[in-house]
Symmetry: D2
Subunit: 337 residues, 4 copies
């Protein structure tokens, strides 16, 4: 068994990592850390896990492990990763610290300089369906954000085809769990429970990450207009993206392009209209495509922001890093209803 630690385990992604790992046949949940919950049984903080783990939270990682998932906030991961790597521990970081290859870009969007340039240069961007080969040799994986996962997975075949002019509009909608466990005015039920709210319009940190990923896939410059909205659901995300084709393609041709691109990629499912409930609780993403007037193509993606958008993809990345089948421990269907 590969032994794994979840660092910063008292938030939603930490809990989700534990939920999946406690049933993983080849990676063992060996430790969870949390400063605020140090000494407390994990199953007290995460009651759904009672009977599935006997661990208590450690204040700092004491246990010997092969792998660490960093479910720590932006800014904290880059202080933890170097030391873990120096101990020979593989790292999958779920924060934004290692996602943007360019340190200047990081400083611009995250508001402070990057403090681990060495790590930044060796980190691999873990969009598993797109960069599996790079991930296989990595010891530091930057796990993508939820919005980038949903939108890039749904746009990648088009972008890779060279058919698209260099501009993408992404209208994204996320459940509230994407905003984390800390209560705020925005996620207060009375604020958001009967509404849909645009936020950080044109200013969300996932914008440069999406752009970087799409540029890597397409090999060209890409402009991204990205508008996130907060949905009155807990889990689940939908992105509706709009691109213009350089030359006419009908729906069947585009469908074929997608089928081929994702052949053998178990966790991406093509469908006429993506459905959040089909993905909830699972590592599957659904992608659908529709042609509109004026050469515009509408691409829709759906996934569970806590699984494929966070913890599930992180475990998929760990599987790849350790040369396991990428689906091990993740091959269960979404709730459907």
């Amino acid at each position: 068994m590969i032994r794994a630690a979840v660092i910063g385990g008292s938030g939603y992604t930490g809990g989700e990592l534990a939920r999946i790992l406690c049933r993983h046949p080849q990676i063992e949940l060996a430790a969870m850390t949390s400063r605020q919950n140090a000494g407390t049984p994990v199953s007290k903080v995460l009651p759904a896990l009672r009977g599935f783990t006997d661990l208590s939270f450690e204040a700092q990682l004491q246990t010997d492990v092969d792998l660490a998932f960093l479910a720590t906030p932006h800014g904290a991961s880059m202080d933890l990763a170097p030391e873990l790597l120096s101990r020979g521990i593989k790292v999958v970081d779920l924060s934004g610290d290692y996602r943007l290859r360019d340190a200047a870009m990081y400083e611009k969007w995250y508001g402070h300089p990057h403090r681990d340039l060495d790590g930044l240069s060796r980190a691999v961007y873990g969009m598993a369906e797109l960069f599996r080969e790079d991930i296989a040799g990595a010891d530091l994986v930057a796990n993508p954000g939820c919005y980038p996962t949903c939108s890039v997975l749904s746009l990648a075949p088009l972008m890779a085809s060279g058919l698209v002019d260099g501009k993408v509009i992404i209208d994204a909608k996320s459940g509230t769990s994407g905003a984390g466990i800390e209560p705020t005015r925005a996620t207060h039920h009375s604020t958001c429970g009967a509404s849909i709210t645009p936020y950080k319009v044109v200013g969300h940190r996932h914008t440069p990450e999406i752009r970087m990923a799409l540029e890597t896939v397409s090999g060209t410059d890409v402009g991204v207009v990205f508008t996130p909205h907060l949905l009155p659901i807990v889990r689940g995300m939908l992105t509706t993206s709009y691109v213009v084709l350089k030359k006419d393609k009908n729906k069947d041709e585009l469908q074929a392009l997608y089928d081929e691109y994702y052949a053998g990629r178990r966790f991406v499912r093509l469908t006429p209209v993506p459905s959040i409930p089909s993905t909830v609780g699972s590592n599957f993403a659904e992608v659908g495509i529709e042609t509109a007037d004026m050469g515009t193509v509408v691409v829709m993606g759906a996934l569970d922001n806590l699984v494929k958008g966070a913890a599930g993809q992180a475990i998929q990345n760990a599987n790849i890093v350790f040369k396991l089948d990428e689906t091990v421990g993740l091959d269960f269907p979404g709730l459907g209803v």
Copy 2:
């Protein structure tokens, strides 16, 4: 025009008072206070009121008024009311400070001694449908809590009839706006948005208030078991109450009892099954009754916790205090859908 101030106007009940008062034909919204928003236009904090009021928040009440609604927290109202009363200003207090007639009971449930025993002795409990005559002569009205309003209105005819043994079980369900504007873990959307959560089981402060009101109505001792639950809706409340009859009555007889009791009370509507949407946005409460086995009667009540359960009833009380028709400014229907 009667001139009114809303003291503590930056929470939900303050906002709701303003929403209704800005259209009231005989009471004018003349001032709103808020320490945290002092100097800010009211319509900036409450954007739905843009075009309906030009007021800015005052740090403390400077404006000359006839009437003050205290939308202040428990413990703050009793420090404000005496001074307002001494200036000849009528007071309707929406906090719990003047609801429990017994100062010892207040201290037990609110955790600190009462500091205005004089006010406590002259305050009238403003359950408008039950105590209209007392309210008419009052200068200090304790506006009832949302749960007491819903459950007492639905139980009062039975309790007043002497038919009920002295014990009441109330299973109550409230929308999240009842918990106020401050974000907490309990009202975080990801916590409560796909659940119904019992809270303060057997320990909620509205229990002694309900008991006091039912004892007043029935003239006997009453035992109350009260279980509140948090619902994943913003506005609206339902109480399902269970009592045992001392002697058999069929549903028609009970219905007749209710019809008679609430004859001429515009804001209580009898219906087979109360509906929250029919009451939302309005000062109406709906009450329904069903007979079950073993002499048990199931009584259901529904209302909008921010209107009939707070601001609407407060304005109804003010109407009564000032000898206006009690429906003035409140006589509009709920949204229905």
Copy 3:
């Protein structure tokens, strides 16, 4: 008093017309028709209106009225309007029958030929803020769809300015009440209650209506890509639209453009981020604007689909037709929370 009938009064828009009209000081709700509820008191079908109307549903309009609101399905209105008009009754039609000026376009999108070409040629498109002068002289008003109202109101100042290239992307999100009162698989709570679902992607009937309105406003051809989504809320709609400017304008300049365009239009409110709750229950629409990269502008609109998106705007149109102040009976704020 102007006497009004609501034809087809058992759906949501019929109910909403009644809710507002029963408090309108200058238009009296004089009759409601419903084949399926004929003979039943209106307040039995719409319990929120108990105490506000004593009408019973008529099978067909018998009562003498000055004005009829057609809350009938597409295809039924065009069979009713001519006869009503011939009796001198002004008609505001809430269906799609008279919205598209072009009969061929109507047949293409609604699936049957138009049967009242005369009516079609005299009907006025009742987007009240844009075409008030035309409406004032009309006897047949086509009340706009909810999606067109929200998106056209938010885009009109830009389109009218000549600044925009001829293409608009509209990503629209609607509460379920927009789908009407008849239960379907799509609006079954278990289907839609924890999801957001794109539907009729690139094929919704409101697309040509939006296009027609934007072309009227801009005086040029406009291409529209329109994607509606079903939201898990009951009331409320948000549209997020994307256009590209022909020449650079900063946010302040655009803001100024909007301020000027909507000066004196009480029901359109400019705001940084439109909020559905601020509009719920009211006839107000909120519009916000943000500049993005590549000359793209993001325009957001929010409103209550049953009020400003249907019944409220219909009453606003009736006010204009009868030369009343357009705000009469509609000048109340949204719930806010």
Copy 4:
């Protein structure tokens, strides 16, 4: 591998059986039947199962199996079970047909006579935690209703203790998936999506089932007052029950009683306040207890109505029937968030 068929597989419980069985290590999903979907791939009707099953729906069961789950409506199961049993196929029926031991009671509550008295007499009531020994030898298991599972599991230790007087009040709240896949006015999102609605007050068919189970557990007559409510969530159920103790017990004593009663029962979890999200997607039920005034005890239960309240418990029953560990294929945690 034990080979299983799901009969009537196009509803929610059929889909949920398939979701769990497709990952069950010892029971194989070998066939699904559906008249309306005959010939269609299962994964087309249940898109979340794409990649997990290659089955197509059969119109009638053709495949050779050891076990059949009847996810058929009340009234249909009793026409199917005898023939299946005669072929040596074990049957777990998820309808109400074999739950009530008394045929007269069945006729009273289900509105038609029972047509398989022989089956009725040999059927075992499959409340797995309470009647495991009886289930182990059975070939026809009546899988309990969702409400009975939630309320009986939470009340059983008290009822078995002989401490309770013979009367129980159960205030139950269910997500909409409990009402099935067919759209109705009650489950239309616009009706139920921002409300909580009592329904079938004192008249729900689960009442006699709860009573039968509690009488079996307690060995005495039990009176049940049962009020179901429809919640605006998709999955999940909460019951809040009220009983009076014959003699005083404090909370610790009651807690000890529960701990002992459920020792070794993996799927019942004791907790201060049961949480629906902790159970969603899983076969776990949570139970909590609180003492109130006047000897009253408040007992709360939570579970996922589609899993522990239907498909999960049915599979647990099948495990027991086939002498497998009762947790096989079910031992995964709830989503938690």
